[in-house]
């Protein structure tokens, strides 16, 4: 009998669901596109949950509960959604995980999707074996998580880990959060796309395409990536001076550039981080898109001894 949990990753584009065992293995997986309204999305998620619960029952697994990673701000203490940007009709205060687990007699946990991704990488991915992990997800936006001894540090208001909205360039470009010069406005996929368009790389060029051009050696795209990496390294250096993790793990679409992004990021990081924190490794995430589902399920797992026990 394998102990496992259902993980649901609720994004603006896709709803992913999986059955995950306590060693982080994905035993079953399903995915659908996200309906634009809340009740329809809830129905899809509820159906996926019931299917996976049935699958666990048939497989003779010990089902620990249902975990939900939500693509937007969550009040972890209250276990509810703060704001739903992508899906209409899910209002503030909705206890989505509890609702999806209704009638199953199982514990349910809700967290922000970046926290779930960070938890997965810390327990089973690139951060495995380290006591403290700073995880940063660089996609369209920038999210992040602090994981300490196998648990997400949420902070007093469930804000912790929001490196994307740290201001690194006062009076810099406007951010989606209404501030200026946030890391997200300088180093996200959206920022790469914006800079690519401003630099004349194409009227509709995306961040992903700018990244691809940089990988192929285009000088203009390369300069844009180096500039973004400079801001990213500075933000990571500041984060190290404040929280000093054992390892920094970068996930999300933009981080798939790998060393082309990491190398200039590390240079900038080392100019910002203090003393021995300069040596902190900065590595790519290893679980890919499955991290969201695995981390959502891992909300139901107790911290693994390896992570909690190390120095």
């Amino acid at each position: 009998m394998t102990a496992c949990a259902i993980g649901l990753d609720v994004g603006g584009t896709r709803l992913s669901a999986g059955l995950v065992d306590t060693r982080g293995a994905l035993l079953a997986h399903a995915q659908e596109s996200t309906p634009p309204d809340g009740p329809a999305a809830t129905n899809v998620l509820r159906r996926l949950t019931l299917e996976l619960a049935e699958r666990a029952r048939r497989g003779g697994h010990d089902l620990l509960g249902v975990g939900v990673g939500f693509g937007g701000p969550v009040d972890y203490g209250d276990q509810s959604i703060v704001m739903s940007h992508h899906v209409g009709g899910w209002e503030t205060g909705l206890k989505l995980a509890q609702q999806l687990a209704e009638g199953l007699g199982l514990p349910a946990m809700l967290d922000n999707d970046a926290n779930c991704g960070g938890l997965a990488e810390a327990l089973f991915g690139a951060g495995c074996g380290h006591r403290s992990v700073l995880y940063v997800n660089i996609g369209t936006g920038i999210g992040g998580a602090l994981v300490l001894a196998g648990r997400v540090h949420h902070g007093a208001h469930s804000i912790a880990g929001e490196l994307g909205h740290c201001v690194v360039k006062p009076d810099g470009p406007p951010c989606t959060c209404d501030k200026e010069g946030c890391l997200e406005a300088l180093a996200s996929g959206s920022a790469l796309g914006r800079e690519g368009r401003l630099a004349g790389l194409g009227q509709h060029i995306t961040g992903r395409e700018v990244a691809q051009l940089a990988l192929e050696g285009d000088a203009t795209a390369g300069r844009i990536v180096d500039e973004a990496a400079g801001w990213l390294g500075l933000a990571l250096g500041n984060a190290a001076n404040l929280w000093d993790p054992d390892v920094i793990v970068l996930g999300g679409g933009v981080a798939e550039m790998g060393e082309r992004l990491l190398e200039p990021t590390r240079r900038s990081y080392q100019r910002t981080a203090m003393l021995s924190a300069k040596a902190t490794p900065i590595v790519c995430a290893s679980l890919g898109y499955a991290a969201g589902v695995i981390g959502a399920a891992a909300l139901l797992f107790a911290p693994c001894d390896a992570a909690a026990g190390s120095a």
Copy 2:
């Protein structure tokens, strides 16, 4: 029989020592100026330690150990000094606390002085009753500490809490750490003094004097303080986005300005912090200079239940 510990605060100007009980009360206190060389400073500290140990014995107290707060970087895991800026002849790797407690048969603990100040404020001062405290000491330089559930978070390399060396204004003024635009270069007492001299307030004006002029309503000094508070608020807002404490406590000489500093700091903080973290209180430290000695002694105390138990 009262349980207590000896706390030693080792600064570049003064050596302070105290006998502190587990509720944070100072039962005895002594202070001397810091000799410029290591062996002489060690002798003074050793004498103060023996006097307080004898005092504890005579008072019938249960002496838990000797705690040392050192004014410079410390390797907490190794319990040794990383660098001694102010006192010559104390070399890297010196286990100062262990040396001072030699022959007493008592546990000894060494930490950075800002961490000790933060621990004291979290357990017994302005942060008491809060689960997580961000403490920032604004004096000649800027130090800081993260205290969670009654314990200092040191991080992987004993760097955690170094808000003073987070870069908030890229290409800003040079910092003592060789970087540019660190918070310390923009909002410390040294920075206030430098800006005062640049603004023509006096060829030798100090940060303390600039602060005093601002309190008295001088417009130029007021502008300098507002500018410094703006950078401080931005750094605190970024720290809240990353670590999200329950409360932010400001100590040190510059923070003695009180509301004149806090009010513009809060305004800038609220422009930087996200969502509900905007509401985090920013308050002045309450223990004054005794915080260093109290916190050094508190290195020997287990986390208090009140701090560890709250949400």
